[in-house]
Amino acid sequence: MQQLFDFLALHEMTIYFVILSVFVGIEVIGGVPTVLHTPLMSGANAIHGVVIVGAILVMLNVDPTNYGALALGFLAVLLGTLNVVGGFVVTDRMLEMFKKK
């Protein structure tokens, strides 16, 4: 029990942060027309590419003589970049279609 309280006390701000973000996410998507569902899903897909920040953080702490970790880290950054770049570019291509004539 004490452990749980300690955990909550330590992460109080983060927990607030999480709860508020959940509502922001719901609020922001509310009332979006069907037409935009696919681009929106694709845009959201690009945004979770932010996981690349974690991959970079791992890499910055890797021991440069540990080749296995370097290889995994390289792969993680590569995959994260694909998610970010591919995601935003595909979304842009979809939304390009909606330009005014």
Partner: protein
């Protein structure tokens, strides 16, 4: 100092994510919204690389920039070159990459945190969710591009699936508690999560893939958020949770558009036993129509409604259909497009495709608004759509698509369905509409047939 710069960059990044998503909710600002979020992402990534207090060897920097450079070129080229019809599977593929990235972070961070339950929780959670999202997305990708087009059902599938899920969760919980310092165990956990991702996605029919992709999308968001929890990194938290919650809501909205609960999509796959119910024999005959007859019919119509489906996208017929629309309008025929919310492989898929060929926005009419108009329509031309016009959704409770709202095309005076063959639609079920006395079939590849139709119309004045 470094700390303040990254904090500021993350603050800017988080704000752009929220603004970007908000702007993407409106057709006018959507493209800029995407751009805003992308700029925020770039700021966050570069701040992470340059402003930290670690001493980092040049090799590591080289690898980071190498990976980013390579990823940018590959991602950019793939995204730019892919055909519009292939976009849904590409989104799924990129989603899988993000999931894999989250899983790899978990694999690497585990050893640094052995014995620290508080840190292992987000690590293991990120590893499991990321892996499920990765393997699930790859299966969704294979299903959408047609490599794997039959839903796979084993006996007592749901039970097996749930048992595996509980097994993976229990395994994960044990790893967090016992924190064994053993790579083999960690990789076993990784592998079992991958297997669950496959089992989760494999029984789901192709028509439900959009919902699955959207769900896996929010999973990846969640995995990213766990990463944020681990590093106490605000931008991973905001980005991840925004996508997690927005993605979940989007998933539910899509299910609502199909009038099916999410549980039904996940557990009650299309293509099960009900499909066999009633194949043709006693349903009467099917009529053919020739291109010239159809041209005459359309030329003397007052109002034509076009129902686009995935077949249109596959045949790349979006330009020729616009040509057909233009030529009919010149003859004084009113032409509209009936947009079913789940036509194609993703909600809004058809809108994107038709917009590509410059079809005017106001001609694309959503289902609720167009349904009352069918009664006053002379010809409905269904191009490559099937399930969204299948009357079984209304009057056959045993049909797997029962309850899904459909376009009421049978109210029109004439129905013409263009299909390549008599094969069933993506949901794998027969369509009674084809046996309707008002219906005629126009067999052939959409692009070829429509091109002939346009040519035929041009000869009539």
């Amino acid at each position: 100092m470094n700390h303040f710069i990254t904090s500021l960059a993350y603050l800017i990044g988080s704000t752009t994510f929220i603004m970007g998503l908000k702007m993407m909710g409106n057709p006018k600002s959507a493209r800029n919204g995407n751009m805003v979020a992308a700029v925020g992402m770039v700021i966050a990534i570069f701040a992470t690389i340059f402003f930290h207090d670690n001493t980092v060897s040049p090799i590591v920097y080289g690898l980071i920039f190498g990976a980013i450079g390579l990823g940018t070129v590959m991602g950019w080229m793939t995204a730019k070159q892919v055909q519009m019809t292939k976009m849904p599977e590409l989104v799924s593929l990129f989603n899988g990459m993000g999931g894999a990235c989250a899983a790899l972070i978990g694999l690497m961070e585990y050893h640094h945190n052995i014995g620290k339950t508080g840190a292992l929780l987000p690590i293991v959670a990120g590893l499991i969710i990321g892996s499920v999202s990765f393997s699930g997305s790859i299966i969704a990708f294979l299903k959408l591009n047609g490599t794997m087009n039959q839903p796979v059902r084993l006996p007592s599938y749901n039970m097996l699936n749930n048992a595996v899920m509980l097994g993976v969760l229990a395994f994960g919980a044990w790893v967090i508690m016992a924190s064994p310092d053993n790579s083999a165990i960690l990789f076993a956990l990784f592998a079992s999560a991958l297997v669950y991702g496959i089992l989760f996605t494999i029984p789901i029919g192709g028509a439900d893939m959009p919902v699955v992709i959207s769900l896996l999308n929010s999973f990846t968001g969640l995995a990213a958020a766990f990463g944020g929890f681990l590093y106490d990194n605000k931008i991973m938290l905001t980005g991840g949770i925004l996508v997690g919650s927005a993605g979940t809501l989007l998933t539910l909205v899509m299910c609502k558009a199909m009038n099916r609960p999410l549980s039904n999509v996940i557990f009650g796959a299309f293509g099960g036993g009900a499909v066999a119910a009633g194949t043709s024999s006693e349903k009467g005959s099917i009529k053919d129509i020739s291109v010239s007859d159809l041209a005459t019919l359309m030329n003397y119509s007052k109002k034509v409604i076009i129902v686009p489906g995935y077949g249109l996208a596959v045949a790349q017929a979006q330009h020729v259909i616009h040509e057909l629309e233009t030529i009919l309008e010149e003859r004084g025929v009113e032409v509209k497009y009936a947009m079913h919310p789940v036509a194609g492989r993703m909600p809004g898929h058809m809108n994107v495709l038709l917009a590509e060929s410059n079809v005017s926005y106001d001609k694309l009419v959503e289902m609720e608004d167009i349904n009352p108009e069918f009664a006053s329509t002379d010809v409905v031309l269904v191009v490559g759509a099937n399930d969204v016009v299948n009357p079984a959704a209304k009057n056959d409770p045993s049909s797997p698509i029962y309850g899904m709202p459909i376009l009421d095309v049978e109210n029109a005076k004439n129905i013409v369905v263009n299909k390549r063959s008599m094969n069933a639609g993506y949901a794998g079920i027969d369509n009674d509409l084809f046996y309707n006395p008002k219906n005629s079939m126009l067999f052939g590849d959409a692009k070829g047939v429509l091109t002939k139709l346009v040519a035929e119309l041009k000869t009539m004045d």
